[in-house]
Subunit: 128 residues, 2 copies
């Protein structure tokens, strides 16, 4: 049966478990997209075991339990998977002040990394 | 000024324009995540010019105007960009029956590619 229709989880992290799968993280309540990051097998398994969104940091090349230092953790409500089983959506409840590492003028983090839109003239505008 | 705080669009498609940027496509009305795909410079520019979600198909290695053959096009309401300017969110109005190429039992496409959740026992369950 193809990946689209089987009930078996066939997420492929590659032979070494380090093929990166893109993960869309969405607020379970507001449905706002908060962050897009990546998971290897270890990050995915840690997410399922701990109940908190965990990624693989490409810049630091290490397991990244979101908010572990800042307190801005993302509690998992549900994990969804796409037709081709090559991407994930984490539906989460944010436990801290915001999911983004960028800070607003008041010093608090933006609640989502997507705080700007691209305007028709090609410049950016902060919208939250 | 860093990419997080400038109003300048600094999306980096690489010297040849073919560095792929992940794009989360979200229903502007329901906020449901519909599909995750990728854009190169050409796909991004075509999206902005045409007003319809356009990606770069990694499997077919060609520009992919979503729904061009099926009619399931995704009209752009707004494009958002993340803090680091390395991913996008397309907020869209679906013009067809569904955004996914996988079909439901009635022959219509699923409205989103994320029609299954991962259950605690590690199997998948169709939820829409």
């Amino acid at each position: 049966m193809s990946k689209e229709y089987t009930n078996d989880l066939l997420l492929d992290f590659g032979p070494d478990g380090n093929t990166l799968i893109p993960v869309v993280t969405q607020d379970a309540n507001t449905k706002e997209v908060l962050i897009l990051a990546f998971a290897n097998r270890e990050a995915f398994e840690e997410t399922r075991k701990s109940g908190y969104a965990t990624y693989w940091s490409r810049s630091r090349q290490e397991l990244w339990k979101k908010g572990m230092t800042s307190g801005d953790m993302l509690e998992i409500n549900e994990i969804r998977i796409n037709c081709e089983q090559n991407s994930l959506v984490y539906l989460v409840t944010p436990k801290g002040k915001g999911a983004c590492h960028a800070k607003m003028e008041d010093g608090n983090p933006y609640r989502t990394c997507y705080y700007r839109k691209i305007k028709d003239d090609g410049t950016l505008e902060v919208i939250i």
